[in-house]
Amino acid sequence: MKTRRIIKVTFGALVVGTMIFGSGRFQTQAQQEQPVQSAAATAPVTDCFESREGYTAVTRVENVTPDGNPNVKCSPTTNGVLWWGDPFDGTVPMGDMPAFGPDDKTRGDYETEEAVVKPREPMLMYFNMEPTQNCAFCHNGQTVPFPTDKNPRLLAAHQDIVENSMQLMHGRAAFWCLDCHNATNRNKLIDHKGNEVSFNQPQQLCGKCHGEVYIDWRMGIHGKRIGSWTKGGKKRWWVCTECHNPHTVQVNRFQAIKPELAPALPKGMKDAAHEQHHGGGPAPAAGHGEAAPAKH
């Protein structure tokens, strides 16, 4: 690890020094490695993401909290958010959550406490291409005619979201776009009963089929919340689409992410090869020449 770091630093210095070659990516790396050498050049990471890259982006703003902290602190290794100064930054009230019945045991504290979410709409690329009419700018019945049925057909656009619209993998291809997207009002989702659902409250749509997970989510067992743990305390809830992509959920269940750095090796340990092979005998010949320490 240490050698890799040194290489990075040297390479970073090279890029900064010459400023001739290297893509933007390496330049950012150089900026991140700079703090190691001089504290004056400390540039905190400002472009961050929350749970997964590409799902929720967040920009670091200094001096947001009363005690002078930024809204988030991010990892220089992965750009993932590592620390929330203000857990409710950019959130809106979650809205109502209808009870399952009069004796709804899954009704949690959100009846009495403040529950907020980060709106999803600002994170959607196509939604924000046109600031006032959003999706309806194109999907207005004229530019793009309203579809007449829900049968799968090849799409002329949005291949970046669904590569092959004839094989949309959600519900093992039993579902198609218009089972969730409102055909006549594309700024909203639609459930199986024809109720319009906002992009900001996807749980009201997903929960219609994924009942078991939805119950766990309502009780706080599934999913993520930050803020106050106390009964009646304010919490920010993560909604379904902040972690799951409904379009690729069966093809690529989760987008794998880059891990943070491993802990430093103990003094005197050259590498961690000993923990990577079975049996406690000598390390495989292809790996490192030394024999692993004997195991008890």
Binding site: M1, A39, T42, E50, S51, R52, D67, K73, S75, T78, G80, V81, L82, W83, W84, P87, G108, D109, D216, M219, G220, I221, H222, G223, K224, R225, I226, G227, S228, W229, T230, K231, G233, W238, C243, F254, A256, I257, K258, P259, E260, L261, A262, P263, A264, L265, A272, E275, Q276, H277, H278, G279, K295
Partner: protein, 343 residues
């Protein structure tokens, strides 16, 4: 405290005070010799250091003494790090017993909790690098049908249905001991699961049992805390802990001022010194004020859950109620308040 003991303490107190007086006089003389001004900053610092050196065990301090100790620390750390550092001394909240639950099925081994913890709790960044959470990569079990009759004892007919699925030469189940230093391009890796370990805040903590100076103890909200000033660095607790939760400051901690978190607690994340032991405190500087722990807030998969075990409506209580839960090394009778669960 019996009268005899009291007398004894008073006795030591007096001798300490005398020693303090003499030492103070010497340092004052040195300071006066060094700089002709009456109150040199060195003297103030020396006074603080001496007062800190001879303060009582935090648990035995009166409220006033606690306040003094906290004020001393706030002043010293504010000067040291060049920003306003607050040291909180808030006690355990009444009717609260903290519990933690971790969904072992969901953890992807990204180590964000590890680094969030470091950011929050002012650990030494390098030399020594101290991290309170360890994420261990485990191989998925390899129990196969071929191992069915290879259990010990060798004769399956005499095993009375006991099947261990391995023998002295080939063990089944998890084969590797667990990898600490894994560094793949992306996580989660195929055929691996990840096991984060931190302080389990035991109800019967072996570390507390062995501490010869009783500087580590369990607070009423279930958090095992350390008064760093009273720690003698004998590392008995490190050896006693079955969860490998305690870390020792082998050298002066390296904590850059710009990375220092100024919201601290006396028993929690205030800057430590060389030669003391530290460990996870469930971020008591946050949780005693109602906020979730730092590791929970950054978990990108929502595997970490935290709450009040005494409240049946809390997230943790609901998990214990409904999910398959296990405790690590339950056979040690430590009654940890850290639970692992699966959906």
């Amino acid at each position: 405290m019996s009268t005899e003991e009291k007398k004894e303490t008073e006795g030591t107190d007096i001798s300490r005070r005398q020693f303090f007086k003499e030492a103070g006089a010497i340092s004052a003389a040195v300071a006066a010799a060094a700089a002709s001004s009456v109150i040199a900053p060195e003297e103030a610092e020396a006074r603080t250091t001496f007062a800190e050196m001879f303060q009582k065990n935090y648990r035995l301090m009166t409220d006033e003494e606690k306040k003094e100790a906290i004020a001393r620390l706030e002043q010293r750390h504010s000067e040291e790090y060049g920003k306003k550092v607050t040291v909180d001394g808030s006690p355990a909240i009444k009717d609260v017993l903290f519990g933690y639950a971790l969904n072992i099925q969901k953890c992807i081994g990204c180590r964000r909790c590890v680094h969030a913890c470091v950011k929050e709790n002012n650990q030494s960044r390098h030399d020594p690098e101290i991290q309170w959470i360890r994420v261990i990569k485990m191989e998925k079990g390899n129990f196969t049908v071929d191992d069915m009759n290879k259990g010990y004892p060798a004769n399956a007919n005499e095993s009375f249905g006991i099947q261990v699925g391995g023998n002295a030469y080939k063990n089944s189940g998890v084969a590797l001991e667990g990898q600490h230093y894994y560094q793949p391009e992306t996580v989660p890796e195929k055929d691996a699961f990840y096991f984060p370990i931190q302080c389990h805040q035991c109800e019967k903590p072996p570390c507390v049992k062995v501490c010869p100076v009783r500087t580590t103890y369990r607070d009423p909200d279930g958090i095992v805390v350390i008064d760093y000033n009273w720690c003698i660095g004998c590392r008995m607790c490190v050896a006693a802990c079955p969860y490998w939760a305690r870390r020792f400051n082998w050298g002066d901690p390296n904590l850059p001022a710009e990375e220092m978190n100024p919201n601290t607690h006396y028993l929690g994340n205030r800057p430590r010194m060389r030669g003391v032991v530290e460990k996870c405190t469930f971020c008591l500087q946050r949780t005693r004020k109602g906020r979730y722990t730092a590791c929970l807030e950054v978990c990108p998969v929502g595997a970490r859950k935290f709450g009040n075990l005494l409240d049946p409506e809390s997230e943790v209580s609901k998990i214990l109620d409904r999910k398959k839960v296990f405790r690590l090394k339950a056979d040690m009778n430590t009654y940890p308040k850290f639970f692992y669960f699966i959906d």
